[in-house]
Amino acid sequence: MEMNELKGLRYYIAYAAVVIGFFVYSGVVGWKWFNPTTVEHQRTGGHHVGRSYIYHK
C-alpha cells in the first residue's frame, strides 16, 4: 500500500491502534468487557467471612 493511502487512512489507523491496544490490555489483565456476571467489590477489613455473611446469618 502506498504511503499516500496510509496517510489517507491515518484516522482509521489511529482509531484501530487505540481499539486494539485496549483489546491487548484487556487480554493481558484478564478484563472481560460487558461481563454478564455482576461483581460487587467490598473491603471486609480483614474479616474472613465477608460482608455477605451478614445477610445470611
Partner: protein
C-alpha cells in the same frame, strides 16, 4: 497590456470595442449595448438577452492553473432545455495552452478543456473505461445560452442551440462530448474546489457562489481508495485473530480448586467455606464453573471470593436452571446444567470462597471448579464490531452521497422503477 489597438465594431450600436481576443474572437457581447453578435459576415443575427448577470470572475481577471496564467475572456449562462437548470461558464484563455472553461453549478466548479483524444471505444452507450477510470453517462441534454458577456472564440450561442451534449463522469473527472452535424468536440474536465478557484484568481472565496448539495463530479474525498480501506480492514481482522489465538493459547486455564458440595454437608451452616487456594501470576481472570444434576429444576448461589491478604471481597451470584419436556411429539429443553461466572482482573494472592447456596426441592448438590486465567471470546467479537464501525460508516456515507450525486441524472444507477 499588449499595446494592441485591435477593436471590433458592434454591429448594433457601432461602438468601437477593444478586443482582447483580437482576430481569434469570433463572437462578442458588446460592452456598450450588451448585444451579442458574430464578428464575421456569415452570421448577421443580433441577440439581446432578457436579463443581466454579474460574473463571479470578472471579464479580464486572471488566474493561474498548473503554472499557466489564464484570462477570463467570456462569460455565459446556459440553461438546459428540458429541466431548465442553469449553470455558468467562463471562457478562459492562455496563448500557449489555448482555451478552457470554468464551469460552475450550485457553487461546484469544473475545469474543462478540449481534448484530441475522442473516439474512445465505448463499452456501451452509457459507459466506457479510459486511463483506468470507469466513466458513466450522467446526462444527455441540449442547452441554450441565456446570457453572455465578453468575447468568444466560437459562436457560443449558435453552437449551444445546435449541439447535443453528453457528459460522462468518473469523479473527479468528466468527459463531455458536444455534437452536431458538423462537429464532434470532446472535452475533459476535472472538479476543482471553490478554494482552488479563489486561490487561482487571488480573490476571497466569499466572492464565489456558495456550495449547495453534491457536485456531480465532486470526489468523495476520503484520501484513500476503497480497496485500500478494505485491505486494511482485512489486515486488522487478521491481526486481531492472531492476538486472540495468542491469548487463548497462552492462557493457562489452571484449575486451582475443585469440589462437589452436598446439601447434607451444610448441616446448620448457611454457607460453605472453601479451603484457601492460591492464585498465581499478576492480575488475571478467574472463572467459577458450577455444575448440578438438574432435572426440571434450578440452583441459585451467592458467592463471595475473599482475598485473605488484603481483605478485598468479590460478591457475585450465579443461578442455573434446566428444564425439558415433550410437546406435540417433539422434545424441548431450556437452560443448562452448568454455568460460569467470570471475574476480571483478580490479582494474585490467597483466597477462599464463601458459598451461600439455595437448593430446590429436588436438587441437593453441585460441583464447583475455580479456574485461573481463562481467555474471553467476547472481547474479540466486540473489537471486530468496533473496528468494523469505521468502514461500515464510510461505505454507508459514500452510498448516501453517491445517491445524492446521481439525483439530478436521468441515468442514475440508483433510480428505481
Amino acid at each position: 497590456m499588449s499595446g494592441s489597438n485591435y477593436t471590433i465594431t458592434c454591429k448594433k450600436c457601432k461602438a468601437e470595442n477593444p478586443s482582447r481576443g483580437k482576430a481569434m474572437t469570433i463572437a462578442m457581447a458588446c460592452p456598450t449595448c450588451g448585444t451579442y453578435f458574430c464578428v464575421g459576415q456569415w452570421n448577421k443575427d443580433l441577440i439581446n438577452f432578457n436579463f443581466s448577470a454579474e460574473p463571479a470572475l470578472p471579464i479580464g481577471s486572471k488566474g493561474k492553473f498548473e503554472g499557466f496564467v489564464y484570462e477570463v475572456i467570456g462569460f455565459a449562462i446556459k440553461q438546459e432545455t428540458k429541466y431548465h437548470y442553469r449553470w455558468r461558464e467562463y471562457l478562459i484563455f492562455n496563448p500557449m495552452r489555448g482555451y478552457a472553461f470554468l464551469s460552475e453549478y450550485n457553487g461546484h466548479w469544473n475545469f474543462i478543456w478540449p481534448v484530441e483524444e475522442g473516439h474512445r471505444r465505448h463499452k456501451s452507450d452509457t459507459d466506457f473505461f479510459h486511463e483506468g477510470h470507469h466513466y458513466r453517462l450522467y446526462q444527455k441534454y441540449r442547452a441554450q445560452v441565456v446570457y453572455a458577456r465578453g468575447e468568444f472564440f466560437f459562436d457560443i450561442v449558435g453552437i449551444s442551440d445546435s449541439t447535443v451534449n453528453e457528459e460522462f463522469i468518473a469523479p473527479p473527472f468528466l468527459y463531455a462530448v458536444e455534437r452536431d452535424n458538423d462537429s464532434l468536440l470532446w472535452c475533459k474536465g476535472e472538479y476543482i474546489t471553490r478554494n482552488e478557484v479563489a486561490n487561482a484568481f487571488a480573490i476571497s472565496v466569499n466572492k464565489l457562489p456558495h456550495k449547495s448539495g453534491m457536485g456531480y463530479t465532486q470526489p468523495f474525498n476520503a484520501g484513500f481508495k476503497d480497496e485500500s480501506l478494505i485491505k486494511f480492514s482485512i489486515f486488522l481482522v487478521f491481526i486481531l485473530l492472531a492476538l486472540q489465538i495468542f491469548f487463548v493459547k497462552s492462557s493457562t486455564e489452571k484449575v486451582v480448586y475443585e469440589k462437589s458440595f452436598y446439601q447434607t454437608d451444610l448441616g446448620d451452616q448457611k454457607f460453605f467455606v472453601t479451603p484457601t487456594f492460591t492464585l498465581e501470576g499478576a492480575s488475571e481472570s478467574l472463572e467459577i464453573k458450577i455444575r448440578a444434576p438438574l432435572s426440571n429444576d434450578w440452583l441459585f448461589a451467592e458467592f463471595s471470593l475473599i482475598n485473605e491478604d488484603t481483605g478485598n471481597e468479590y460478591i457475585f451470584t450465579k443461578d442455573i436452571e434446566y428444564y425439558f419436556g415433550r410437546e406435540g411429539g417433539e422434545s424441548w429443553t431450556e437452560g443448562s446444567n452448568s454455568g460460569e461466572a467470570f471475574l476480571s482482573e483478580i490479582p494474585a494472592g490467597k483466597y477462599h470462597i464463601n458459598i451461600y447456596p439455595e437448593f430446590s426441592v429436588s436438587n441437593h448438590e453441585f460441583h464447583l471448579s475455580v479456574v485461573r486465567d481463562v481467555a474471553s471470546m467476547s472481547n474479540f467479537f466486540i473489537t471486530i464490531v468496533g473496528l468494523a464501525i469505521f468502514p461500515i460508516a464510510y461505505f454507508i456515507r459514500k452510498h448516501i452521497l453517491e445517491q445524492r450525486r446521481w439525483s439530478d441524472s436521468d441515468y442514475s444507477p440508483y433510480a428505481t422503477e
